[in-house]
């Protein structure tokens, strides 16, 4: 049942009950009063009549009962105005129904064996009562109609915000989370609307977050599939080519070379993916690392790089806090990128510095630069597909770096000018007294 119907029904029941109980009690009282008055009047009349009858009998002195009855009968018309009927009975008169006022009284002696029965009709009182009941029914019907109309209008006005809320909730339920409830009243409905709006806002926020996460996962999976499929296609295709083709010795070597190099690429990809996913679960214990030791190690890695690029160290700090292997991995990944971007025989600057709270590592190159300073941290993102593959990259280097930095509670970002160069900055927390 609708809220409106409930309110109307409840009001109606209450109203009818109150009205009818009141009317009933009032009617009962007034009926009783009227009856009492009537009875009193009848009593007076009866005593007047019986006095007269006694006087008449005293003078006429009838001999038998029949004569007595006849005399009383003859006076009946005379008393018509006062009584419906007066009869002489021997013994008590038992009335058949109670509708009339009946008074029995013995006559004076010597007729005291006889009873004068006085009967007074109260038909008019009953008529009044019926009329009253009818009026009450009309009042009931009329006031019910009035009440229902009034209550309906009032309830409609009061529940209007509720309908608005319902309508909008349905809209929001169907996915339109930007829809807002508008309630101008200053009652509970306004509160409901406000809370509901807040809920819609937070749902919207969560959905956006989820969608973004799903999108990123999907892109990652798609990219991974793409990265896996290319080497697989080559390996499968070239082995089939070797197996079935009628081919020259030169082509055989080309095919075998491809199979070999593509297998290596797959292996590299597997290792990188494993590294990154391991990184997500691992907890590191940062220790105090000597920057001298780190730079020595880095220098040995790059002493004979293919592009003949000179590494320039600028050290303004003594220590850095982190996991030795991971820090070396981080720096060498960044330097790999710098070298890949640079022209032959150019230089790459590496700067270590610190302030009270943080250690800073900056790697400067004068290479080709990039526009994608944000996307470049995403897994499998390549700034330049063709060049990156030729260098044997799998598109995970910076994504790996970001995982390492995150693990150290640090930050990494890139500033770059296309054609001029790139600066990679890593900020790691410096542990006091460590």
């Amino acid at each position: 049942m609708l809220f409106k119907q409930k309110i109307i029904l409840a009001t109606l029941i209450l109203f009818i009950a109150v009205l009818d109980i009141n009317s009933y009690i009032f009617m009962k009282f007034s009926e009783k009063a009227v009856l009492e008055t009537e009875y009193q009047r009848a009593k007076n009349e009866q005593s007047f009549i019986i006095k007269n009858i006694n006087d008449i009998l005293k003078y006429t002195k009838p001999k038998d009962v029949q004569t007595c009855k006849d005399i009383v009968k003859s006076y009946k018309t005379f008393y018509k105005f006062y009584a419906e009927d007066i009869v002489i009975y021997e013994g008590e008169y038992i009335p058949e129904n109670n509708d009339n006022i009946i008074i029995n009284e013995n006559l004076e002696s010597p007729y005291d064996k006889l009873t004068l029965v006085y009967i007074k009709d109260i038909e008019n009182i009953r008529r009044i009562k019926t009329k009253q009941t009818n009026i009450l029914i009309y009042i009931n019907i009329f006031s019910c109609i009035l009440l229902v109309t009034f209550v309906y209008i009032v309830v409609c006005v009061f529940t209007k915000p509720m309908n608005e809320i319902l309508k909008n909730i349905r809209v929001i339920k169907n996915g339109d989370y930007d829809k807002r409830l508008l309630v101008n009243t200053k009652d509970e409905f306004a509160e409901i609307a406000e809370e509901f709006n807040n809920m819609a806002i937070s749902i919207k926020g969560n959905i956006v977050k989820l969608e973004k996460a799903i999108y990123e996962k999907q892109t990652l999976a798609e990219n991974m599939a793409h990265e896996l499929r290319n080497p697989l296609t080559s390996i499968k295709g070239f082995s089939e080519y070797l197996l079935k083709g009628n081919i020259s010795e030169n082509n055989k070597i080309t095919a075998l070379n491809y199979i070999y190099s593509e297998t290596q690429r797959l292996q590299k990809l597997c290792n990188k993916i494993l590294d990154i996913s391991m990184m997500k679960y691992e907890n590191i214990n940062p220790i105090k690392l000597s920057i001298d030791k780190i730079t020595t190690e880095i220098q040995t890695i790059y002493v004979n790089n293919t592009k003949d690029i000179r590494l320039n160290f600028n050290i303004k700090s003594k220590y850095i806090f982190g996991d030795y292997e991971l820090i070396i991995s981080l720096i060498s990944n960044i330097i790999d990128n710098a070298i890949n971007a640079s022209k032959n025989k150019s230089k790459v600057d590496i700067e270590f510095s610190e302030d009270t709270n943080y250690s800073y590592l900056k790697v400067f190159d004068t290479g080709c630069g990039t526009k994608n300073t944000q996307d470049i941290f995403k897994p499998f993102f390549r700034d330049d597909k063709a060049r990156s593959r030729e260098n044997g990259g799998v598109g995970l280097g910076l994504s790996f770096c970001k995982s390492i930095v995150d693990l150290h509670n640090g930050k990494i970002y890139i500033n770059s000018q296309v054609g001029e160069g790139t600066v990679v900055t890593v900020i790691l927390p410096y542990i006091q007294g460590g």
Binding site: N230, G237, L243, K244, T254, A386
Partner: protein, 217 residues
């Protein structure tokens, strides 16, 4: 001779495709990105383009729309195999679609079908033997050689995939049909007959553990 442009940014895959199509006698040209491909299409005449979708500079779909007016048939080759991509490819007017990783025979078969539909290629010439698919006749040095239906079908499939080894199962399926109850030994018998009729004992080679190959260099 048919000229095919292979547009694929992955050098290994590009080489794989070109090495395969050159085996069966197509000419090829390579492009590693969309822009270069577009330049090449404007300058040279190609009979077919094998086109990757994820390309640097200009992706495969864009390139296909740009060169649509030239009426060159296009087969998309890509790692993407979602239905929506396939439909998009066909909407642009692609003739066919191959997903990586693909089988060598699948690639060759699709290339062959597109070229044959487009250019009505009906005649194979292998050294001194001419095979006319329309008339279903075979001539060696202008002398007609009578072949049965099965022998002709077998010769056709070998010629289409020249220099590529075909397994007995593949031959059985392509020539006798999927539901054939013949055994692989039947293939050997028919190969023997073909060799004898064409005097091709040295051309139709038996490849150990694989099958047969028509070798033409």
């Amino acid at each position: 001779l048919f000229n095919i442009l292979v547009v694929e940014d992955e050098k290994a895959v590009n080489d794989l495709i070109t090495m395969n199509i050159s085996l069966v006698g197509y000419n090829y040209d390579k492009a590693y990105d969309g822009k270069t491909a577009l330049e090449k299409i404007k300058q040279n005449k190609y009979h077919l383009i094998l086109l990757d979708i994820m390309l640097p500079e200009l992706d495969g779909f864009e390139l296909a729309s740009l060169v649509k007016s030239r009426g060159i048939p296009i087969i998309f080759i890509t790692a993407k195999d979602s239905l929506s991509d396939k439909i998009k490819g066909f909407d642009i007017g692609a003739e066919d679609y191959i997903t990586k990783p693909f089988e060598m025979l699948e690639l060759l078969a699709r290339v062959k079908v597109v070229i044959r539909n487009k250019y009505k290629e009906q005649i194979f010439v292998i050294e001194n033997v001419t095979i006319n698919l329309n008339e279903r006749t075979v001539k060696k040095n202008d002398n007609e050689i009578t072949l049965t239906k099965i022998e002709f079908d077998l010769l056709e499939i070998l010629a289409e995939n020249k220099n590529v080894a075909l397994s007995r199962d593949i031959l059985l399926e392509k020539v006798w049909g999927y539901d054939s109850e013949c055994e692989t030994r039947t293939v050997d018998v028919y190969i023997q007959r073909l060799r004898k009729k064409l005097n091709w004992e040295d051309k139709i080679k038996t490849i150990y553990k694989i099958g047969y190959r028509l070798e033409v260099l």
